[in-house]
């Protein structure tokens, strides 16, 4: 098992100096930090640690470990966190499948889990749990917002495409839930596929008003480059994942002007966000991604709860988390009954700014949006 341990540098010393405080909290941060998808985990971690560092949180100890994007490794890491490190809170997971492998067992053992990314429908609906808090989004949110945006933009027919895996199928379902036009074709690609010539040919032939695609990570990079080169004049829209700061520099102008949906954007006009983007750039010398923002908010949520309750009193701590008394970088934020966000989802556009490809907010897509699965949750 990977034991990548990064105790917050100064934190440790400070905690020793101050003696053991009553509100000491131990966080197990498990994330994808090596191999494919490592960029996302690294951003979540950096955002998370940035918030703790800014707050001078000397009573929080963080243990960081890599899951290599393998669910079975993640399960081992979680076992270690719970059995050996005896952490109070777990967080950090990037991918839904890993969350599904780790979260149910962790929360059943009385640990808190705060999701900084990944909101599988199972955990929002029947599988919701009082110790599970999602500070990012339910998986469908951005797809639903994209469906709504497609209506607003007046697209009457859509070609939709996603990888053939559960998140992909959920994504297209989410899009269709809000989209009112005609879906002319629904295509599932292979997970990890790198060549989209065949699909692009189908898009060209479909004559749809818009093509909606959900291809996270490297798949999105490949698709966007190839789509731009193919010279198809059907406009694209996508969820924020495919246009995130972690991949935009690798896509370059191939993504210029594409509309996408996200709960956050680096130019989002809130005071908290401006401060976050500036200090993230100062600390890490790059523009933060949505993932970094979510990691930052996860830490803020944790800190806000610690101010009013001690983690040793689980019920009080849970109430404190539920209150979500923190200033989210995305603006208004509160939890629905199933402890998933109620938040605004924005439409963004990819632009080049100061030599860096990034997103700017165009306008809201869905306001005070929450997921449909909460109805099945007994909380």
């Amino acid at each position: 098992m990977t034991v990548l341990r990064s105790l917050l540098a100064g934190t440790c010393a400070l905690a020793l100096a101050a003696g053991a405080q009553a509100s000491d909290l131990k966080v197990g941060f498990l994330s994808t930090l090596s191999g494919g998808g490592a960029g996302l985990g690294v951003d979540i971690r950096d955002g998370f640690l940035l918030a703790l560092g800014e707050a001078g949180a000397d009573d929080v100890e963080v243990v960081v470990e890599d899951t290599q994007r393998k669910p079975e490794v993640a399960v081992q890491v979680a076992d270690e966190f719970i059995q050996r490190e005896e952490v109070d809170v777990l967080t950090g997971i990037v991918f839904s499948n890993i969350a599904l492998a780790v979260v149910p067992s962790a929360v059943n053992q009385g640990k808190f889990y705060i999701s900084p990314n990944a909101g599988p429908s199972q955990l929002a609906g029947r599988g919701c749990h009082e110790n599970y808090f999602n500070v990012a989004w339910q998986n469908d949110a951005m797809h639903e917002a994209a469906g709504a945006h497609a209506n607003d933009a007046g697209y009457e027919s859509a070609f939709i495409m996603a990888p053939n895996y559960p998140a992909g199928q959920d994504g297209l379902t989410g899009f269709k839930r809000f989209y009112e036009g005609e879906v002319v074709s629904e295509v599932y690609t292979r997970l990890g596929q790198t060549d989209y010539a065949a699909e692009i040919a189908q898009i060209r032939a479909s004559d749809a008003d818009v093509a909606y695609f959900f291809l996270p990570g490297g798949m999105g990079i490949s698709f966007l480059k190839q789509y731009a080169d193919a010279g198809v004049d059907i406009p694209l829209i996508g969820p924020g994942f495919s246009f995130d700061q972690t991949i935009l520099p690798a896509v370059g102008d191939a993504a210029a002007g594409v509309r996408n949906t996200s709960e956050w954007s680096p130019d989002l006009d809130t005071a908290a966000n401006a401060a976050f983007v500036e200090s993230f750039r100062a600390a890490y010398d790059r523009t933060p991604s949505m993932y970094a923002a979510q990691g930052y908010d996860a830490a803020q949520l944790l800190l806000s709860a610690m101010e009013t309750a001690d983690v040793s009193d689980a019920d009080a701590f849970r109430e404190a988390l539920r209150a979500a008394e923190f200033e989210s970088v995305r603006g208004a934020f509160r939890f629905a009954a199933n402890q998933h966000p109620i938040q605004d989802i924005y439409v963004r556009e990819v632009v080049e700014r100061d030599g860096v490809w990034t997103n700017v907010v165009v306008g809201p897509s869905l306001q005070d949006h929450s997921d449909v699965y909460g109805a099945d949750c007994d909380l």
Binding site: G39, T194, A197, K225, D229, I247, V251
Partner: protein, 306 residues
Amino acid sequence: MTTILFIEQVLNGLQFGVMLFLMAAGLTLVFGVMGLINLAHGALYMVGAFAAASVAAATGSFLLGLIASLAAAAMAGAIVEIVVIRRLYRRDHLDQVLATFALILIFSEGTRWLFGSFPLYLDIPEALSGPVTLPGGIDYPLYRLFIIAVGLAVAGFLFWLIARTRLGIRIRAGEADREMIAALGVDISKLYTLVFALGAALAGMAGALVGAIQSVEVGMGEPVLILAFVTIIIGGIGSIKGAFVGALLVGLIDTLGRTLLPIAFGTVMEASAATTVGSALASMLIYILMAGVLIARPQGLFGAAA
């Protein structure tokens, strides 16, 4: 499906196949001459893509990037051959597999250490970007046509190299009998390094060419490596001709299967189920083809009988 779309998909399959050929040719050459099975071939593909991306970013020239990919992959190949591979020729396949598996880990993590965890940017050069209109009114990306042309040119070059040049004679002699060629006074270890570097350069070039239209990231070589193996099994180990035919078969079947199967299933079942089943089956098509070849001709289509 219209005829135009079908022709476009055939071109796509051809382009994919030609790319696979560049990978498979290096693998099969190294196997044919040295009897070595090299799992790290995919890592050399990645090296080529990263070299191209970083040089292109620094100089702004895709051509320089492409040259850098050839040079970097060939150099990495030569170093690996001299430091590690050379000790493995007399070993069994198990040792070769493990050592080259170890090399994958080292290359992947080393690249991550050098370039970070984020994908790199590499774009199609201005002159080759955008679609062209082919006879029959098909809009097709110029760059993909360029890849097909490069792949065919490399194939032609390899056939010429093997059949007509002194190096080719030595390569063929090396395949036939290592001791004989040593007896002829050819410096066998230099020949091996050269062949290995040649295979590596082909992989590196494939990585750079594909990197311009895909994501340049760590681990990008592994799916291609598996497909190259399938290609070689179908074509026959050690045969350049086999690699060529196998690569085109795999490229065409995979591409056409992906588009045609869901449509075919759509005629007998409900649309979204058809896409799921069709896609699942399409991802297995080439393996089914491989199984068929293994049953009918275990030595591959162009392999020498065992």
